[in-house]
Amino acid sequence: MKLTRESVQRVATLARLRLTADEETALAGELDRILGYMDKLNDLDTSNVPVFAHSNDVSEILEKLRDDKVVNRPNTDILLANAPERDKTFFRVPKIIE
């Protein structure tokens, strides 16, 4: 299977990445080679093998979930300090509805 530039563009849209024409061409070749390498997984019959879920015992984890209560009350100024744009106590973002 050869990865086309069209499929690279389709994936880039899903990933919200604007690629240049040069990047698209380069990625088509690179991803094709890497996916080709991954095809070796098809050598193995895994029809009776379960999908890996967690490396530790999950029951152990379920026992110790903390209570769902606020322990770190949000501080608006601290949380907004890294905002690219803010307006009083809000994040300012581009218009969503035209």
Binding site: V11, K40, L41, E60, V93
Partner: protein, 485 residues
């Protein structure tokens, strides 16, 4: 000898006896950084002022408190993917801009509670994606043993800082070998604990089912000492284990008698540098000489590990990195509408390798490919885990090379992503299986570059792992060799 050349525990002993103060020790570390870091470029951000303040507080605490941590007053470097309140955190990416974390990672909280001094933030491959530290958006880091070589990655800055005495010990993270491979390249000790042993809260997520925090140190007992402080359950990380934490330093009795060491035959195949194989085989002999029982074992699915990893890790990364959209923090591009803003922000903010992995991860999760790649890989991951479960029914520790070669030259593999991925061939399986593993020095190649020995332990059995590594270290003096800058 400069104070910065001391091991963590040597310095801790001198502090305890009041032969030195933490302020003196911290000043010595910053002097060393001034002299060496123009060549090494291990750090992205130095926190001199806050470090000296922490050192002063540590000295004061020594005079007033009774229960003192061995980390009290010890200068430690931190990989720049740990959130540090008030200290810029970049993950070596342009997309985070001058991000100032609103809180500390749990590992950092624990260091502060123990009274450690945070020297600064070290360089890495952007978002911890890489094996050479060359994917940093800022600058590459150089290997202290040879400035033309890479320090390994992704925790390359932390490894180089430890090797060049620009700190006493460091923190790294390891998703596919990012603590162990740079530790091998720089001739230091690097430990990736069992998945769940150390909290991941506040480390910038790459592949959440494999990311793990660990110590990078000058010797094995320092690694035990630092792990002791880091390990334990954290309510803020639901994947951190509630199992009790044993006394790691107490496990270091210098004895490997009766321990069964497995040597997997699949790890000594084509592509391995002959001097690496020779040194690792010699290390196995040394362990045998000290009373360990050696057994050849088989991990039959080893050859599939790299393929599984680069499906699973990129899938998780593409999801984790969706949060970098320029809305609430970091870089935001100017564009005509919201979708364009997202797309251009991410295009400008991410480097080539991060884009490649996001693309790969999005592809393997996309409609029509999810079963063929992602689910298939997660099934093979189960087989890899079973290989280890089988081996550990009769072995206590598995010994392998950490990396197939010693540190390669800068720019040698940057044009060939697949070759770069294959640098992780020996380290990746343990992340897929969630097992603890460490790298420690076991020799030098003909170019005087360090060779790393990897030891893999049973689930949550860091104690036996550290014990075997410590016994080997006691029997050899590789860890005492230091680079001359």
């Amino acid at each position: 000898m400069s104070l910065s050349a001391l091991t963590l525990q040597q310095a801790s002993e001198k502090l305890r006896r009041r032969e030195i103060s933490s302020v003196e020790l911290t000043e010595a570390v910053f002097q060393r950084i001034s002299a060496a870091d123009d060549k090494i470029h291990a750090y992205l951000t130095l926190a001199r002022e806050s470090a000296l303040e922490q050192a002063k507080q540590a000295d004061a605490r020594r005079n007033s408190a009774t229960q003192l941590s061995p980390l009290l007053g010890i200068p430690i470097a931190v990989k720049d993917n740990f959130l540090t309140r008030g200290v810029r955190t970049t993950c070596a990416s342009k997309i985070l801009g001058d991000f100032m974390p609103p809180y500390d990672a749990t590992a950092i909280v624990k260091l502060h509670a123990a009274g450690a001094v945070i020297v600064g933030k070290t360089n890495l491959d952007e978002f911890a994606m890489g094996s050479s530290a060359e994917n940093s958006a800022f600058h590459p880091t150089r290997n202290p043993w040879n400035l033309g070589r890479i320090p390994g990655g992704s925790s390359g800055g932390s490894a180089a800082a430890v090797a060049a005495d620009e700190c006493l010990a460091a923190l790294g993270t390891d998703t596919g070998g990012s603590i162990r491979q740079p530790a091998a390249c720089c001739g230091i000790v690097g430990l990736k604990p069992t998945y769940g042993r150390v909290s991941r809260y506040g480390i910038i997520a790459f592949a959440s089912s494999m990311d793990q925090v660990g110590p990078m140190t000058k010797d094995v007992s320092d690694a035990a000492c630092l792990l002791q402080v880091l390990a334990g359950h954290d309510p803020a990380d639901s994947t951190s284990s509630i199992r009790s934490v044993p006394d790691y330093s107490a496990a270091l009795n210098g004895d490997v008698k009766g321990i069964c060491i497995g040597v997997p035959k699949e790890y000594f195949v084509s592509g391995i540098q002959p001097e690496v194989e020779k040194s690792v085989r010699a290390a196995v002999q040394e362990l045998a000489k000290n009373g360990a029982r050696i057994e050849e074992i088989s991990l039959p699915h080893t050859e599939y590990a790299v393929a599984v990893y680069y499906v699973v890790a990129t899938a998780e990364a593409s999801s984790n990195l969706a949060r970098y959209d320029g809305m609430r923090f970091g870089h935001r591009a100017e564009a005509k509408d919201l979708t364009e803003t997202y797309m251009i922000t991410r295009a400008e903010g991410f480097g080539a390798e991060v884009k490649r992995r996001i693309m790969l991860g999005t592809y393997v999760l996309s409609h029509g490919y999810y079963d063929a790649y992602y689910l298939k890989a997660q099934r093979v991951r189960t087989l890899i885990r079973r290989d280890f479960d089988n081996a550990f029914t009769h072995c206590d520790v598995i010994v392998t090379p950490t990396a197939p070669t010693t540190a390669f030259k800068l720019a040698e593999k940057t044009q060939d992503p697949l070759q770069m991925y294959l640098s992780d061939i020996y380290t990746i399986s343990t992340n897929l299986a969630g097992l603890p593993a460490l790298s420690l020095p076991c020799g030098f190649d003909n170019d005087n570059l360090p060779i790393g020995l990897q030891m893999i332990g049973k689930h949550f059995d860091e104690a036996t792992l550290l014990r075997a590594a410590h016994a080997y270290e006691q029997a050899t003096d590789w860890h005492k060799k230091t680079p001359t800058l």
